[in-house]
Assembly symmetry: C2
Homo-oligomer: 335 residues x 2
DNA sequence: CGCCACTTGTAGATCGATCTACACATGGCG
DNA sequence: CGCCATGTGTAGATCGATCTACAAGTGGCG
């Protein structure tokens, strides 16, 4: 029974004793259907278990499917955004498919475009604005966690500049004067509008404003496990900082791992993350962090995209609410 | 430029001065293409940036896409399986799309079937074997973390019975005599072949074998945050158990949350999880758990599915390696 | 009674690919 | 020189839907 046993519109038409066009009209809820015909067609659909082929639809017009590009499957901050998107799409008649991919997002985005989705939500922290503009000229596009001032695609992001400054001020207020910043690779912060680039910029600026240029120290890691080793190296250095601002929670947790393993605490090295993922509130971790309402980010992205699919062309750039959540991983420095 | 500006095979054919069929042959690497024609077509493809439409392909035959049904986006154990699947598909010429869905998996699976993917990897802990058999008769299907003895679909799972017994023996060896089990809702353990059902069964059996029927205590939660409240209730009860076996790490972490908030430790209530997600090894959590190689689960599922797509019809049922990882969340009971 | 408007349903083109069947060259060989 | 095998390319049907154009039927109204 394996070989292509799918029920088609033709089968339904035969079963109901009407034409294909009639069936099409019924399922699209189009004009020109008598109550009688509707009933017969609907019962035939029911009986045969017919389901319209998205592929066949896509080839003619809309697939009623939107794509979500996700480059880090295991990053809980991204999962939170994704959950918001999934919630946001409910009841809209559209469905969501996710393509896992590389950090550039290229491969995943291509896969979704090839599927002929009606629109795209992407994170793609390493894609260049030029490439995205080009993409946006061919398909409705919304970017999450980027601040590009594009006219062709929308963006939704947290106020990363403000968030990072909240973090820095919190640390300065506690009395820290030597604060390091832990972020991703050079490429990850290369795009001016990227969230990590903005956070890095705010860190550098706040250090300068407070006259601490000489203590600026930026660490970079490729993977999360790298973050652990980088911290170990930092703690072993001659004159370690008293606080560390990690550009997102997943990195911060690895920093905490190193700190705890040494038997140290927040007075030795205060740690701040970003995103307020679920684990941050766990008493075993208790991470001070910034909540940028990741789920709201996803929900809004979907809403903006649907607006665009339905004809809006003027770009919108939104920001979500921010909130510094102070927990046990930060404290005044011991000295 | 927005309106359907996609480059089609026809455009490429025109550009290269050949027929559509010729272009098709080149991209499918089919027989009957002269080196000269190949070159011209390839350069035309390059010049126009042509990408074949998966939708159009799917309608005729294969989409070279496989679907992954994921009902809990934020569950790190599932993310781990997903990562394995994503790794396993690399270099195979297929691509992976994920559909987020409800616990029944119905909606997500339907969405993937409607997309006309070539095969399906599903977790669907609450689907009935009958429904899955029916599904498997229409599309190649592999189930993860289920032990159904189906002849129409494959399964890959950890040895859940053995794993749960490892946990129980570890707790008995430490001296625990009153052990509770925390699992999901009734529906989640209703399917006989489901991983949670098997773990529950092993718990009940081990309690009985050790003559502790009277201390059997099964708690159920709907959400992860529920697990926290359930634990609080348990700790407040008249004669609380000295150990708790949670059916997966995410629940265990919430149990630990309650334990830690009370200032209690492993001697008061030992906690064991299942899955060995990344956070389990964090010193702030340090959870004893069972590692069932979640990434391997995903990798194997993909491999089995591709075998099936390529013609295998005899069902295979595989199990992954198991390993009990003892950490700080378990200790001998205080009394 | 005849014309028009409206309702209800169908035929057939179309979307972008795949794939079978065939046409046309070319050249080897008896 | 004629026949056939081989190599190269194309025409056209096909997949499952959408959607325009139109045919047939019904009833209102002057």
């Amino acid at each position: 029974m394996r070989p292509g046993k799918a029920v088609t519109m033709m089968d339904v038409a035969r079963e109901a004793g009407v034409s294909r066009a009639a069936v099409s009209k019924v399922i699209r809820d189009a004009y020109g259907v008598s109550p009688d015909m509707r009933k017969r067609v609907e019962s035939a659909i029911e009986r045969l278990g017919y389901r319209p082929s998205v592929a066949a639809r896509a080839i003619r017009g809309s697939s009623f499917t939107i794509g979500f590009e996700l480059h880090e499957i295991e990053n809980p901050a991204l999962s939170r955004i994704l959950r918001g998107a999934a919630e946001g799409i409910e009841g809209t008649g559209y469905r969501l498919v996710i393509a896992p991919g590389d950090p550039e997002g290229q491969h995943a985005i291509d896969a979704l475009v090839d599927l002929r989705v009606d629109g795209l939500v992407a994170i793609a922290p390493r894609a260049t604005p030029a490439w995205l503009e080009n993409l946006a000229s061919r398909i409705p596009l919304v970017l999450v966690s980027r601040h590009d001032p594009s006219v062709n695609y929308d963006t939704v992001a947290g106020g990363d500049d403000e968030g990072a400054r909240l973090v820095m001020r919190h640390l300065f207020d506690l009395g820290h004067r030597s604060i390091a910043h832990l972020t991703r690779s050079e490429e990850a912060t290369a795009q001016e509008g990227g969230a990590l680039a903005v956070r890095l910029g705010a860190y550098l600026d706040e250090m300068a404003r407070n006259g601490r240029e000489s203590r600026i120290q930026v660490l970079r890691t490729l993977s999360t496990s790298d973050a652990y080793h980088a911290t170990v190296g930092l703690l072993d250095s001659a004159d370690p900082p008293t606080a560390l601002f990690a550009s997102h929670d997943d990195l911060a947790f690895e920093v905490l791992r190193a700190v705890r393993e040494r038997g140290l605490d927040a007075s030795d090295l205060s740690v701040v993350g970003y995103d307020n993922v679920r684990f941050a509130s766990h008493p075993g971790l208790s991470l001070t962090t910034v909540d940028q309402s990741g789920d709201d980010l996803g929900r809004r992205a979907v809403r903006l995209l649907l607006e665009r699919i339905n004809g809006r062309t003027a770009a919108k750039h939104e920001e979500t609410e921010l909130r510094l959540v102070v927990r046990g991983s930060t404290a005044p420095p011991r000295r």
